[in-house]
Amino acid sequence: MTTKVVTVTSGKGGVGKTTAVANIAVGLAQLGQRVVCIDGDIGLRNLDVLLGLENRIVYDLVDVVEGRCRIRQAMIRDKRLPELYLIPAAQTRDKSAVSPSDMVNLCNELRSECDWIIIDSPAGIERGFRNSIAPADQVLVMTNPEVSAVRDADRVIGILDAEEKGPVSLIINRINPVMIKRGDMLSVDDVLDLLAIPLIGIIPEDESVIIASNRGTPLAFDNRSKVGLAFINIAKRLMGEEIPVSQMENQGFLQKLFSGRK
């Protein structure tokens, strides 16, 4: 299988990019894939915390780019899954420490080492974002059902279009069926209507996400978690499995009611 580089991005901050990267990476690794995730958020690294690997960082992305270590030395192996690795971001530098072509070269070097490279893009549309999308074969745009997040996602999709990056698909995070039913939240259809790109997953809102991120154990490890399941389904869809989005994620009664409207 040829290695695929997947970048998760959103424009707006705080919509759940890092959570998505951690969970999709765990999901793919559980399916027996060799996965390397790269934290593209130099200066504000988080992915190591979500994966529970922060105390094992010795070398980081900038060390690799600036030639202070070999790529293998910066790849931290997960204790739980033997084929899941993290290349952390540097915390003491900023985005300009790495250039788009550095990222392309790095990913090309990694292609022989793994099946999937998942890149966690920083918020914004500046250097860090450009670095993260430069090597991408596929882009997942993440949004919340909020007008501001959707607006930023739209902007990002426009830039990806212009740069001819793709295919681009959409993850809608923090769906709250009760609020949608009350008319207080944009529905999945409202978001799709505006953004007009294929949907690859819907993640329900759930406070267990916060607990999981504090503990450093992504929910994809817990197959009873609805959120974990939703991310595992995204991993399966990336692998080419055809799982209809609406049936799997809409488990709640209200959600069923809502999706029945379609």
Binding site: S101, R130, R151, D154, R155, I159, A162, E163, E164, L194
Partner: protein
């Protein structure tokens, strides 16, 4: 490959480094530019660059590659000037400026080609947030115009889709200009010097045409406008 003689001029301006790229073969001219930068990398570090590519016709691949290469040298490419409409479109797609701010001189403006009432720019794609489309004529869009997008036309604007962004028709003062859309709910609408904000909020828009009537912009459904 025989290298063309360098037809590159670099000069410092208020807008940053102005680089003129002439000649016929793009790749060898780019190589010339990179060679020049390599001679004095410290001089270029951190500079903002305007590229005047004259008649070169550039597509996304070429321009984004050059932009990324320049960023490796710490150069920020922020504007591309061109005589080719394709190159201008490419630059706008990549979020680069295509004209510099007007110099503050008292000299009369150079007369640009007169506005042709029957000329239209044809755009067949969704215009997303952050996109900016400007044309010296009419604009026809087959697709949606999303919130946060800007469409500026010297003539009229027709949208075969949902209009939810900002539109300015008659941008140089033509009060006869109109704006029409299949689903008409622009965030803000300007015709010539008048501004209107859509009174509707989250309602399903319908086929409407807006024009100036007396002192105001009015929008009416297609049936009554006929």
């Amino acid at each position: 490959m025989i290298k063309e003689p360098p037809i590159i001029q670099i000069k410092g301006t208020r807008e940053g480094l102005m680089v003129n790229i002439g000649g016929s073969d793009w790749d060898s001219q780019v190589q010339n530019l990179i060679d020049q930068i390599n001679e004095r990398p410290a001089f270029y570090q951190g500079a903002r660059m305007v590229l005047n590519v004259q008649t070169h016709v550039l597509h996304v691949m070429e321009l984004s590659k050059l932009r990324d290469t320049l960023s490796d040298y710490g150069l920020v490419l922020w504007a591309v000037l061109s005589e080719s409409q394709i190159t201008e479109q490419t630059s706008q797609n990549l979020g680069l400026a295509t004209r510099l701010s007007k110099p503050e001189t008292t000299e009369p403006d150079i007369i640009i080609d007169p506005f042709q009432k029957d000329k239209a720019l044809w755009i067949k794609q969704t215009v997303r947030s952050g996109s900016h489309i400007e044309y010296h004529g009419n604009i026809i869009i087959l697709g949606d115009v999303n919130p946060g997008a800007e469409i500026i036309a010297v003539g009229s604007v027709l949208v075969w889709g949902r209009l939810r962004g900002l539109v300015h028709a008659g941008a140089e003062g033509d009060e006869e200009a109109i704006v029409g859309a299949l689903d008409f709910s622009p965030m803000q609408l300007r015709i010539a010097g008048k501004i209107a904000v859509s009174p509707k909020k989250n309602t399903k828009g319908k086929l409407e045409i807006a024009r100036i009537s007396g002192d105001h912009i009015i929008a009416e459904s297609w049936n009554s406008a006929k």
